[in-house]
Amino acid sequence: MATIKFTVNGTARSVETEPERPLLEVLREDLGLTGTKYGCGEGQCGACTVLLDGRPTLSCITPAREVQGRKVTTIEGLAANGKLHPVQQAFVEESAMQCGYCTPGMVLRTVSLLERNPNPTDGEIIEGLNGHLCRCNGYHRIVAAVRRAAVLAGKQS
C-alpha cells in the first residue's frame, strides 16, 4: 500500500492504495468519479481518457503511483459552475452520441486537441481521435461536434 497525493479537478486528494492499481479504478472506486469509463483495459479504446497535467492519458494503463503530486482532470471537472464547456456544448448540439459511453473520453480528447490546434481540419480531427472507439454512432457526428466545438471555443476566447 502507498499513499498517493494528487489533485483531482482542482481539489487535493489523498488515497491509500496499491501503487500498481490502475488510475481508472482509483478514480471510479475510491473517489466515486464514475464519469471516466472502462472500455478495454488495453489502451485501445480511449473511454478511460483523463487529462494528466493537461495531457490526455489512458487511465486504464496508468498505475496510480504515476500520478503522485500531479493534476488530473476528469469529465466531472470540465463544466465550470454548471456551465458546459464549449466542447460539451458542441457534443450536445451535434447529437454526437447514442449510448454516450464513449463520450467523456471523446470530449476530453477534444479539449486537448483544440488547445493544441484551435482550427483542426477534418483530417486532423480524425487523426487526433483515432485512438477512441465508438461502437454506436458512426463517427460523423463526433467529427461535426469537434468542428462545432472549435467554433464555440473561438467565440468564447
Binding site: T17, R28, V92, I126, R141
Partner: protein
C-alpha cells in the same frame, strides 16, 4: 402490454440466446427460503405507495402514464435505452399527444417493479409497438383532462383548447397541475376513456422534428450512471473464475487462498466460483489466487479453421423449407443458364463499449439488481430460476446502458453479482472485462449459404434455391420476382455460443443474395441496377434504389474506370423498412483489405419520428456494418479465442470513415417502422460487388478479403 411476444416460442430461430438453459441453478439457501415467506404483501403495498405518491392514478392508465400534482408527466415503459433512442422517442410521443413541451415529460424506462413489461427491446419493435401504445395512453389522458376541465368550465369539451399543458376556454385556464389535483380527475381516472384520437402526422409539432437525446447533458458531464457506474452503500466488487476453455467444467477449487486475503469473500456453488473484495483489483487478485489451484475437466473443441466444414457436417437432416413455390428442380433443368455459389460469414462479436455489468443487493430475501440488458423481464425470470425464488421478490432496474446491438439479451453479470452478494451479505458489483465480454458473451452466428439460380432465355430469373446453414431466417426470402423458389434454414451445431445481433441473419442472407444477384446480372449481361429493378415489384425498394443511384451518379460512374477502384451497389428489406447502398472502394493488393472510400445509402422506414436520431442510426449502421464486412472475424483454437482483444479484433475506427451520404425518405403516409437495424444489411454486399468491379474477383465471404499479392 406486450405488443409483440419475442419469447422463447415466438422469436426467430437465430435468437438462440433466448432458449439457452440457465447457466447456473444455485443450491437452495434454506434460511432465506423461510425468511422471505409472508413478505410479499408489504412489498407490494410499499411499491404501490412509492409509485403513487401525490397523484391521480389507478385503473388502466397507471401502468403507462402518470400526471403528478405539479403537472409533471411521467411515462412508464419497460423498454430500455441502450443508445438507440427509445428514451427520447417515447418522451416525444407523450409530449406530442399531451400538447406539452418536452421538458414537462419524464420518461422512466425499465424498472420491473414500476414499469409495465414491454417485452424485450429488440427487433426494431419500440417504434411500431411501444410508441403507438404511449401515444394512445397520452391521447386518452388528454381526453380525460379535457372532459374533466369541460365539467369544471361547464362547457362542451369540443369548445376547449389544449396547449402547453393547459386547457383553456376564453380567458379561463386550467393547467394539468390544477386538473391533476381535482378529485374529479381521480374519479374519472378509474374508468379512462378508450383512447383519444391520435394526432395526425401533418399536425405533429414535436414528432418528426429533430430532437437530441433528452438526457444529453448528463452524458457529456459524466453525471449519468451506467450500470457499471452504480454504487451502493457497503458495496464490494466481484470477479468470477472463468473456465480456461469452452466446455471446461470445474472439478475442484480451493478457496482458502482467497479467503485469507483481507476483506475478501469467496464462494463456489456448482459450476460457479468467484470472489468479492473492497476493490476490483483485490477481487481479481483473489480470483487469480484460486485459479492457480483450480482443476478443470477440459473438452475438445473445434477450431475456426474448419468451421464451415463443421457446420455443413453437423447440419440438421430434417430442415423444412421456409419458403417454397413452383418447382425449383424443373425450372433449374429448363434454365438457359445455371449459376451456383456458396458464401461464408464469420462469427463476430457485438463489442458494445460498455461490457456486461450488474450490481446486486439482497434485503430481507428480496433481490434488487441494476444491470444493462435489453431483456429485463426475462433476466428477472433467470434470476428467479437460479435462486429458487418468485419473480415477485426480484426487482430488475435497467439504467441507460452503453450499447447492446442485440448482444445483451441475457443476464450473466446479474446472476453472478447476485450470487456473490448473497454470500457477502452486501451489495456486489460485477463488471466484465473486455476479454470476458469477447470470450463469454454470445456471438453473431457464422453462416454458410448455398445458392443456385437459373436464368431463362430472356435472362430473367426463373429458379432460386437458397440454403442458410446455422445463421437464421431473417430476410431469408428473396424480394425479387422469381416463379420457382425454395428457401431453407438449416440449423447446425454451433461451436460457439451464438445469438441475436443487430438485424439478425438478415446481414448474412442479404450479403449472399445481393452478391449473387451481381453475379447473375453479369451472367445476363445486364447492369446490376437494371437487373435488380427488372426483378422488383416492391415499390419502396425501387424508390430507395433510384434515389441512391441518382445521388451517387451510378450511370455516369459506371462509364469511368480508375485502376484499383470499383463501385457496387446492394439493396434489401427487413423489419418493414427498405435500404439501398452504393459505394466506391479502393483495393490495396498489399494488405488484401479493401478500403471503403465513399458510400451513399438511402433508407426509408415510413414516417420519420426523429430525423437526427434516424440519421445517426443509419450512419452508425454503416460504420458498424463495415467491421464484419472488412475485418471482424472471431478466431478460435483449443477452446479459446485467439483474437479476443481490440488490438487483434479490429472494429472500425475514425480512420475508416468513408465519405458518407445518407438519404432519408420520409413516407408520411406509412406507419413509422424501427430503424436501428435494417440500414446495416446493404453495406457488406455493396462492398463485395465494388471489389469485383475493381478486381474482377468475386469474394464470397465476410470479411471480404482478397488474396494478398
Amino acid at each position: 402490454m406486450v405488443d409483440y411476444a419475442l419469447d422463447r416460442e415466438n422469436a426467430e430461430p437465430e435468437r438462440y440466446e433466448l432458449r439457452e438453459p440457465p447457466a447456473h441453478i444455485f443450491a437452495v439457501n434454506r434460511r432465506e427460503f423461510f425468511g422471505i415467506a409472508g413478505a410479499g404483501l408489504v412489498i407490494a403495498a410499499a411499491a404501490q405507495q412509492a409509485a403513487g405518491q401525490g397523484s391521480a392514478r389507478s385503473g388502466a392508465l397507471e401502468a403507462r402514464l402518470h400526471i403528478g400534482e405539479d403537472g409533471t408527466i411521467t411515462v412508464l415503459s419497460g423498454k430500455v435505452e441502450e443508445g438507440q433512442g427509445a428514451l427520447t422517442e417515447l418522451t416525444m410521443a407523450a409530449a406530442e399527444e399531451l400538447r406539452v413541451p418536452l421538458s414537462q415529460v419524464r420518461t422512466l424506462l425499465c424498472d420491473t417493479d414500476r414499469t409495465p413489461s414491454d417485452g424485450i427491446t429488440a427487433g426494431s419493435r419500440t417504434t411500431p409497438g411501444t410508441v403507438p401504445g404511449v401515444r394512445r395512453a397520452a391521447a386518452a389522458a388528454r381526453t380525460l383532462l379535457l372532459t374533466t376541465a369541460a365539467r369544471q368550465f361547464q362547457v362542451e369539451a369540443t369548445r376547449l383548447e389544449v396547449r402547453d399543458g393547459a386547457v383553456t376556454h376564453g380567458g379561463r385556464r386550467y393547467t394539468y397541475a390544477d386538473l391533476a389535483r381535482s378529485p374529479e380527475l381521480a374519479a374519472a381516472y378509474k374508468n379512462p376513456p378508450q383512447g383519444g384520437a391520435l394526432t395526425p402526422v401533418k399536425e405533429w409539432r414535436i414528432l418528426g422534428k429533430p430532437q437530441p437525446r433528452v438526457d444529453a447533458r448528463d452524458i457529456v458531464t459524466g453525471a449519468h450512471r451506467y450500470p457499471s457506474d452504480i454504487v451502493r452503500p457497503g458495496m464490494l466488487y466481484g470477479c468470477v473464475l472463468r473456465p480456461p476453455s469452452y466446455g471446461a467444467t470445474l472439478e475442484s477449487v480451493d478457496l482458502e487462498a482467497a479467503r485469507k486475503m483481507p476483506g475478501v469473500i469467496a464462494v463456489r456453488d456448482g459450476s460457479f466460483a468467484g470472489c468479492a473484495a473492497p476493490t476490483s483489483f483485490a477481487a481479481r487478485k483473489a480470483v487469480e489466487a484460486i485459479a492457480a489451484g483450480a482443476k478443470w475437466k477440459v473438452a475438445p473443441h473445434p477450431s475456426s479453421d474448419g468451421l464451415f466444414e463443421h457446420l455443413k457436417k453437423h447440419a440438421s437432416r430434417d430442415a423444412r423449407p421456409r419458403g417454397e413455390r413452383g418447382n425449383v428442380e424443373q425450372a433449374l433443368a429448363a434454365a438457359a443458364r445455371r449459376l451456383k455459389a456458396s458464401f461464408q460469414v464469420a462469427y463476430v462479436q457485438h463489442a458494445p463499449m460498455e461490457p456486461r455489468a450488474a450490481v446486486a443487493e439482497w434485503h430481507d430475501g428480496r433481490l434488487t439488481v441494476w444491470t444493462g440488458t435489453s431483456n429485463p423481464f426475462s433476466v428477472r425470470q433467470q434470476l428467479a430460476e437460479a435462486f429458487h425464488i418468485g419473480t415477485d421478490r426480484i426487482r430488475v432496474i435497467v439504467p441507460h446502458f452503453g450499447g447492446g446491438f442485440g448482444g445483451k439479451h441475457t443476464g450473466e453479470a446479474a446472476v453472478e453479482a447476485a450470487r456473490l452478494a448473497r454470500e457477502a451479505g452486501r451489495p456486489v458489483k460485477v463488471c466484465w472485462t473486455r476479454a470476458e465480454e469477447f470470450m463469454w458473451a454470445y456471438f453473431r452466428p457464422a453462416a454458410l449459404i448455398e445458392i443456385e439460380a437459373g436464368l431463362d432465355a430472356r435472362n430473367s430469373l426463373s429458379a432460386w434455391e437458397f440454403a442458410n446453414y446455422n445463421s437464421g431466417t431473417a430476410a431469408l426470402g428473396t424480394p425479387y420476382r422469381v416463379a420457382n423458389v425454395r428457401e431453407t434454414f438449416i440449423p447446425s451445431d454451433s461451436p460457439l455460443r451464438q445469438g441475436s445481433y443487430r438485424c439478425l441473419a438478415a446481414t448474412a442472407n442479404n450479403f449472399a443474395r445481393e452478391a449473387f444477384m451481381d453475379e447473375l446480372a453479369e451472367a445476363a449481361g445486364k447492369d446490376p441496377l437494371e437487373f435488380r429493378l427488372a426483378h422488383l415489384d416492391n415499390e419502396r425498394i425501387k424508390n430507395v434504389l433510384t434515389a441512391a443511384a441518382e445521388r451517387f451518379g451510378w450511370a455516369e460512374r459506371r462509364k469511368k474506370r480508375r485502376p484499383g477502384v470499383g463501385i457496387g451497389l446492394a439493396c434489401g428489406t427487413e423489419k418493414n423498412s427498405v435500404v439501398a447502398a452504393f459505394c466506391e472502394v479502393e483495393v490495396d493488393r498489399e494488405s488484401g483489405t479493401p478500403r471503403l472510400l465513399e458510400i451513399v445509402e438511402a433508407f426509408e422506414c415510413g414516417a420519420i419520428l426523429n430525423p437526427v436520431n434516424l440519421r445517426s442510426q443509419v450512419e452508425g449502421c454503416i460504420m458498424m456494418g463495415l467491421g464484419p464486412a472488412l475485418r471482424e472475424e472471431i478466431l478460435f483454437r483449443g477452446g479459446r479465442l485467439t483474437n479476443g482483444r481490440f488490438r487483434a479484433y479490429r472494429v472500425p475506427r475514425f480512420r475508416d470513415l468513408p465519405k458518407t451520404e445518407v438519404i432519408l425518405l420520409d413516407r408520411k403516409d406509412l406507419e413509422p417502422a424501427g430503424a436501428g437495424e435494417t440500414p446495416i444489411i446493404a453495406v457488406a454486399p455493396a462492398i463485395a460487388n465494388a471489389v469485383f468491379d475493381a478486381t474482377g474477383t468475386r469474394v464470397r465471404s465476410m470479411p471480404i478479403r482478397l488474396p494478398r499479392r
